[in-house]
Subunit: 333 residues, 2 copies
DNA sequence: CTGTTAGCGCATTCAT
DNA sequence: ATGAATGCGCTAACAG
C-alpha cells in the first residue's frame, strides 16, 4: 500500500504539505498542491482510514440498528439513508437485531465500542436505555419521547384511510393491529379510533344500531393476521383493516382458506405498500407511508445533530392513502 | 474513553501485560490475567478499533457489494451472511450499487481503500475487473468463471420446474427471462431449454404438432414482465414461465389488465419465492432457490479463503420446486 | 507557504 | 512472566 509519505517524497515535499494538499485543510501553493494531487492519483494513493481515525479521533462512521435486514419495510428507507450519509462522507455500518431485545442491547454496545459517531435506530425494545455519548435518531418507531426521530404520520394516515372506508358506507369494522408495546401500533390504532369516533361508530363487540368497531391485537406476522381473522369468524365485519402488510398477508391467507372472497364477501384495507398490493386483484386499498422520505429525514436529523444543531420535535412524515379495489362501496341501509 | 493504559495502571501492571491478558496472546500469570480482565470489565474498557487496526494491519472488516438493498431476494441471503461473519469476528460494511456499473466500480474501489479483508459481491457488470489483492466471493450471479462463488443451481431447478409443467400436459410454453448478460438469466433459461428438448418440445415461434417453446427476454422489472406478456398477446401459450419474481409480478399485472385469468385461461410458473407467492390464490408454482443457504455458503467460502485455504469450484446450492395452483393440469388432447 | 515533529491507542518486540 | 520501548500512518501544531 502506498502511503502519504511516499507521495510526499515523490512530489518532493514534506508529509505535512502533502496532507494539507490532499485534504484541503490549511494553505498550500496552488502549483505544488496540484502536483501532489497528481502524484497521489498516479501512485494510486488512498489514505489509511485506521490511521486517520486514530489521529483525528473520529471514525466517519454511522451505525444503523434495525430489527430485520430482510424486511423491505425497513430497507426501503435504508437505501436512501445510506446514500445521504455516504454523500456526507460517512460510512454506514449495519447490524440487525432479529427483533430480540438482548441482541439489540449487545449490538448497540458493539456500535458504541466501534466508536460510531452517530446511530440510526429502529427500536425493538421500548425500554432500552439509550447511550447519551453519541447522537441517535430513531427511525419509524419511537421509544423515548425526547428522542430525535423520523416517523410516518400513521395517526393521520390511518385516520384518513378509515374515514375513506366509512365514507364508502362501512359501519361494521374490525381492526387488526400489532402489540401495544410498539409506538407504531398505538398510533395506527389511534388513527382508526379517532376516525371511527368522529363518524359516530362506537368501539364495541356488539353492533349498536348496526355500527361497531372491534379491535384485535396480534403479533406482526402472517400467522398473527391469519389467527385474528380466524377468531373473528364467523361474525365478520363488512370491512377489515389490517394495520401492517404482514397482517394483510395473513388475513388474505385465512380468507382464502375459508373461502371468504375479498372484496365480495369482505372488504379489506391495509397498511404499507409492498409491490404486490397493487398486483393483487383488484388491488389493496391502503395507507402507504413515505418510506424513502423517512430515510432522508433520518439522515438529515442525524447530520444536523452531528453539526451540533438542536433538532426539534420528531419529524412526522405524511404518507398517502391508496384507494384500490379491496374496499367496496356499500349501498346505504 | 478508557484505554488500555488505564486498565493497566489500575491493575498495577504494564501496558504490555494488560494487552496480553486481554487478547490471550503470549503468556501471563493466571492470577494477574484474571485481575486485568476484571478491571477491564469494571472500567468498561473496549479496545479502540482504529488503533488496533493500525497496529495489526488488519481491519477485521468484510465488504458486501450488492445491486439493491431494498430487494429481499438479496437481503434474505445477507441476514445469515451477516450473522456468520459476525460470529467469525468480522464487521460487515455494506454498499449498494443501484444496478449501475459505474457506481459498482467506484464502490468496489472504496472498499479496497477501506482496507476490507474480503468482499462478498453480487455482480452487476459481468465485465468488471476484480481486484486480486483481496479474497472475493461472488453471490448469486457469477461473472468471471475462475472466481469463488455461491450460487443457486438454477439450471437444475428450472429444469425440474419445467419438467413438472410438461408432465402436467403443457406443450405450448413461453418463457420470460432477464437479459442474456446475467449468468443467472442464462442458467435459468438453459434449464427450461434442456427440459423442453428432453420432452421433445422444439424452440419455435410456430407450434409444431401443437408443441413449441418461445423465449422472450425482458428487463428484470415489473414493467418488463408486463410488456413481455403484452407482446405475446393474443397468441398466448398454455403455460407461461416467468423467471424472476418481478417478471411474475409484471405478468400478473398485465394478465389482470387484459382480463386473462390465471390459471383458468393461462397457467403461470415463476422463480423465487417471496411470501406473496403462497398468498396469491391459488398459489404460484415456482422454483425457490435456497437463499439462506447461499448466504451461509458465501460466508464459508470467504472465511476459508481468509484462512488461506483453496476454494474449489463454485458451490451450486440446490433449491426446491414448489407446486401450487397457478399451473393447471391439461387433459391430453 | 512549508518541513519537522509529536502523538493518537494499541500489539509487539526486546530485555530483563 | 513482565515492563519499557517502538512504530503502525496520519494530521495538527509548531517553527521557520
Amino acid at each position: 500500500m502506498v502511503k502519504l509519505i511516499d507521495v510526499a517524497r515523490t512530489a518532493g515535499v514534506g508529509a505535512g504539505t502533502a496532507s494539507r494538499a490532499l485534504s484541503g485543510n490549511g494553505s498550500v501553493d496552488r502549483e505544488t498542491k496540484e502536483r501532489v494531487i497528481a502524484v497521489a492519483k498516479q501512485l494510486g494513493y488512498s489514505p489509511d482510514v485506521a490511521a486517520r481515525a486514530l489521529r483525528e479521533r473520529r471514525t466517519r462512521t454511522i451505525g444503523l440498528l434495525l430489527p430485520d435486514l430482510a424486511n423491505e419495510f425497513y430497507t426501503a428507507s435504508v437505501a436512501v439513508l445510506q446514500q445521504e450519509l455516504s454523500d456526507a462522507g460517512y460510512q454506514l455500518v449495519i447490524a440487525s437485531t432479529g427483533n430480540d431485545p438482548s441482541t439489540e442491547r449487545i449490538a448497540l454496545q458493539t456500535m458504541i465500542d466501534q466508536r460510531v459517531e452517530g446511530i440510526v435506530h429502529v427500536p425493538v425494545d421500548a425500554d432500552l436505555v439509550l447511550p447519551t455519548t453519541v447522537p441517535i435518531v430513531q427511525l419509524n418507531r419511537q421509544s423515548a419521547s425526547r428522542q430525535a426521530a423520523a416517523a410516518s404520520d400513521d395517526l393521520a394516515g390511518v385516520d384518513e384511510l378509515t374515514t375513506a372506508i366509512v365514507h364508502a358506507g362501512h359501519r361494521d369494522i374490525a381492526v387488526i393491529v400489532g402489540p401495544t408495546g410498539f409506538s407504531t401500533s398505538r398510533n395506527r390504532l389511534l388513527g382508526a379510533l379517532r376516525a371511527a369516533e368522529r363518524a359516530g361508530i362506537p368501539q364495541s363487540e356488539r353492533p349498536l344500531d348496526g355500527a361497531r368497531l372491534r379491535v384485535r391485537h396480534a403479533p406482526l406476522t402472517v400467522d398473527g393476521g391469519a389467527q385474528a381473522v380466524a377468531q373473528l369468524f364467523p361474525d365478520l365485519p363488512s370491512c377489515l383493516i389490517a394495520l401492517s402488510s404482514r397482517l394483510v398477508m395473513g388475513a388474505l391467507r385465512e380468507c382464502g382458506d375459508r373461502g371468504i372472497h375479498v372484496p365480495e364477501s369482505l372488504s379489506l384495507a391495509g397498511y404499507g405498500d409492498p409491490d404486490w398490493f397493487s398486483i393483487w386483484r383488484p388491488g389493496i386499498t391502503t395507507f402507504a407511508p413515505n418510506l424513502t422520505e423517512m430515510g432522508r429525514q433520518a439522515a438529515r436529523l442525524l447530520l444536523a445533530q452531528l453539526a451540533g444543531e438542536e433538532t426539534g420535535p420528531p419529524a412526522l412524515i405524511p404518507g398517502k392513502v391508496q384507494v384500490r379495489g379491496s374496499v367496496t362501496g356499500l349501498s346505504a341501509g
